[in-house]
């Protein structure tokens, strides 16, 4: 314990220089802005920095990149809340209750709670990172293909139960998402599946393109109808950028529950903020005494995933710092940049370069505080965006959405995907087919199939592997239980 504090002291010595704090400030602001733009997420943000970090010392470089990373986590949900267009996949859930809050004239409160929840999630995540890194990293290694598959099943089932109304429609949405996820070259055999001759589909369908289509572009379509009407929220109805005592009381326990969940999901290999936010939302909705308010502007429905998301980004640093393994796309880019600077993070980073490892941890603590200081006041000018007339705002959203699409894969074919998915998304919304399960299934589909097939290779074809492994069995039971619970609740509701 004493050792940890001594190390943390060393970290603060590294982090508390003028240059480093300045870079945390610049990186955090840049990250917040990049996070807000559709299509540009933390991975791109960190990649942009690579040329800039060429001349830095490794600790400063990593500190700056981390600042961009969690800055993007803060920023990602801004656009979700205000204009229903998530900045990246982990901000989808923030639309569920954040946008209804804006429509009710509570944009200010939504932005405030999202910044506060991000801060609290980040701080709790940091606490875990400081004190429990080694045991958690060791436990995460127990996660093999079988555990992964069962966890995916649990996540998918949890999402179906979120859907309002008909469970079968949720199931149809999941099936569509899984179908889309199988398009392209099958990694295990190299066979090309479901491209129907289109070469551009060989790499599969990028879920981020679909997200931009069904949220950002589709939102523009929905607004075509009442285009000449006055903008829905005039300035009086934005609300103060602060929250009431009641809001706080409702949000605190969900944030405290969601942060550890997010952190653990972040540590697991191949997982990310998307699954963390969906799971925390499902958990809170099922635990809530007023589940019917979820999706209609329940403040805890926004606070919980925001906290989970930031805790998750702390968790994602664990494999990088303890094993030198990138646990996510963003940390993979960080690893590449560090190598260019002559540092190879590995299992010995904490002993060989304690000033880097602990410096980064200390800087993340400082950065969290700086970001809440930036983000709370930032919300005040930000809500002014809502005063821009729709007829100016919509073309800009459309333009940014398409440029964001281009940056995802630098591919002009993605424009076809984004436009077509927007039209289909619009038709689906008219049929009340829920889109979140579709998007989540598309994101998880590839991993789910791989995990299933890899598990069966390991078990020589026996399905028993999923119940013989204890962690896997727990998830299977949880999945079954949440399905039964949700069916029972609906029956009672209907009766």
């Amino acid at each position: 314990m004493q050792e940890i504090f001594a190390n943390l002291g060393l970290g603060f010595q590294t982090a508390f220089t003028f240059t480093n704090i300045l870079w945390v400030f610049i990186g955090g602001t840049l990250g917040t802005i990049i996070g807000m733009l559709p299509g540009l997420g933390p991975a791109t943000g960190v990649a942009i920095l690579i040329p800039i970090t060429f001349g830095m010392n490794p600790a400063t470089a990593l500190i700056t990149m981390c600042a961009v990373y969690y800055g993007a986590m803060f920023g990602g949900s801004r656009a979700s809340i205000m204009i229903n267009t998530p900045g990246d996949a982990s901000a989808i859930v923030s639309c569920f209750d954040g946008y209804p809050m804006t429509k009710q004239g509570r944009a200010g409160a939504a932005l405030a709670i999202s910044a506060l929840a991000s801060f609290i999630g980040g701080m709790i995540g940091m606490f875990f990172l400081v004190f429990l890194t080694q045991p958690i990293a060791a436990a995460a290694l127990k996660f093999g293909p079988a555990e992964m598959f069962s966890l995916m099943m649990f996540a998918l089932v949890a999402t179906i139960t979120l859907a309002e109304g008909n469970l079968l429609k949720g199931a149809v949405a999941i099936a569509f998402g899984l179908m889309l996820s199988t398009v392209g070259i099958d990694a295990l055999t190299g066979i090309i599946r479901f491209t129907y001759g289109a070469e551009a589909l060989q790499d599969g369908i990028d879920f981020l393109v679909i997200i931009i289509g069904v949220y950002a572009v589709c939102e523009v379509f929905k607004n075509f109808k009442d285009i000449n009407a006055v903008y829905k929220f005039d300035s009086k109805h934005i609300g103060k950028v602060w929250i009431t005592k009641e809001d706080w009381k409702r949000s605190l326990p969900p944030m405290l529950r969601s942060s550890p969940l997010g952190f653990i999901v972040g540590v697991l290999p191949g997982m990310g903020g998307t699954i963390a936010t969906f799971m925390s939302y499902a958990m809170e909705k099922n635990l809530s005494k007023k589940p019917e308010e979820f999706g209609k502007g329940a403040i805890e429905g926004l606070a919980a995933p925001e906290a989970a998301n930031n805790a998750c980004s702390c968790g994602a640093m664990v494999p990088l710092l303890t094993l030198g393994i990138p646990g996510s796309g963003t940390t993979a880019v960080m690893l590449g940049a560090l190598m260019l600077l002559g540092v190879r993070p590995g299992p010995t980073l904490f002993t060989d370069h304690p000033e880097i490892a602990w410096g980064v941890i200390a800087s993340m603590l400082i950065g969290n505080i700086i970001l809440i200081i930036i983000n709370l006041p930032l919300a005040i000018p930000l809500v002014q965006i809502l005063k821009v007339p729709t007829r100016i705002m919509l073309p800009i959203i459309m333009g940014l959405a398409l440029i964001g699409t281009y940056f995802l894969n630098y591919s002009s074919f993605d424009f076809v995907v984004v436009m077509v998915s927007a039209v289909i998304g619009y038709l689906f919304s008219k049929l009340e087919i829920p889109l979140p399960p579709l998007v989540l299934a598309l994101i998880l589909g590839g991993t789910t199939e791989q995990a299933l097939r890899n598990s069966l290779v390991l078990s020589d074809g026996s399905l028993g592997i999923f119940v013989q492994k204890p962690i896997s069995a727990v998830f299977i039971v949880l999945a079954a239980a949440s399905l039964v619970y949700s069916l029972a609740k609906r029956k009672k509701h209907a009766a």
Partner: protein, 324 residues
């Protein structure tokens, strides 16, 4: 009269092109196409080349990196193919330009372009858990020979890549039927394979040395051998496969191809530039930091190398039934 005119005209064209042959220089911004997203190996190569060319003032025009990911390189290369005869357009390349075609996922081969240079290579390793009973590559190969199903081998991101081919070649050279090996494929590549090996979900992996180097040094994993032709100075105590009696040398190289139909003058220009580039301090420093080894071949040598390697891969993929 007409004839004379034609001859004069032809001579003058020849003269112009001859003068051109000695003096061709880029006339506009040079585009380096990285057929991958930022952060990957190809992107890193392009950025290091860009930095070296600019910092060492080897070219007079501006150099930009253009990311065109997709199709295992095919998207970026197709873009390059459209820039016929323009000496300012280059792209990063690797073994994938041969493999994609052999595996049936792309029509393109190196013959569609102007191969300019191989620049660097990484070496591929075979690694096991630190407490595994296998001390060298032969121990592992014996165990696989005895019961291939008991040794799941992690490979990623797809089958048919360099890492996968390396272990197939090792198996074949050791007298094991390559189609009997048991593979677990991780689309997340090293980021998923290393934890899977550490956690004991797989028994061995074939993977770029850089991904397991630090784990090996820290005593968490054991590298059984590397695919280089000589022992590596930064990896004492680990022998090459060749030195362990399995004659397989396998570079995972990366290089540069130019637009189709470049003139000999353009090829000469880039030969000069790259020959100078690989000797600069900037280049050497950068590739050392990335754990790469210099692997320079000029245009002619690289073209011959590509032809030879295509033959080897073709045989191997046919044996294991991956050839389409």
């Amino acid at each position: 009269m007409k004839k004379t005119l034609a001859i004069v005209l032809m001579l003058s064209i020849l003269a112009v092109s001859f003068v051109g042959a000695q003096t061709w220089k880029p006339t506009k911004t040079i585009e380096l196409v990285a057929p991958a997203n930022p952060g990957g190996g190809w992107d890193m190569l392009c950025r290091v080349v860009q930095k070296t060319l600019v910092d060492e003032k080897l070219v007079e025009k501006n150099v930009i990196v253009v990311n065109k990911p997709g199709g295992g390189g095919a998207v970026g290369w197709t873009y390059l193919k459209g820039k016929k005869g323009q000496g300012e357009f280059l792209a990063a390349t690797s073994t994938l330009i041969m493999l994609n075609n052999l595996l049936g996922s792309s029509e393109l081969t190196f013959k569609d372009f102007t191969p300019l240079a191989a620049l660097q290579t990484e070496w591929i390793s075979v690694a096991v858990q630190a407490d595994a009973p296998y001390k060298n590559i032969k121990d592992l190969m014996e165990a696989i020979k005895a019961n291939p199903a008991a040794i799941p081998i992690g490979v990623g991101p797809t089958l048919g890549n360099n890492d996968h081919l390396l272990i197939l070649r090792l198996a074949k050279a050791y007298g094991i039927d390559p189609s009997k090996l048991k593979f677990i494929v991780y689309p997340g590549a090293g980021g998923e394979i290393v934890p899977a090996l550490l956690g004991g979900h797989i028994k061995a992996t074939t993977i770029g040395l850089g991904e397991v180097l630090e784990q090996h040094k820290a005593g968490k994993l054991r590298v059984l051998g590397v695919s280089s032709d000589a022992p590596l100075s930064f990896l004492p105590g680990v022998q090459t496969f060749k030195a362990q009696g399995i004659d397989v040398v396998f570079p995972h190289w990366r290089g540069i191809i130019g637009a189709p139909e470049m003139t000999p003058a353009m090829v000469k220009y880039w030969d000069d530039v790259f020959t100078k580039m690989v000797q600069t301090k900037t280049w050497k420093e950068q590739i050392e930091k990335l754990g790469w080894t210099g692997f320079y071949q000029n245009s002619a040598a690289h073209t011959a190398f590509l032809t030879e390697q295509t033959g080897i891969f073709n045989d191997l993929l046919t044996t294991v039934g991956l050839k389409k």
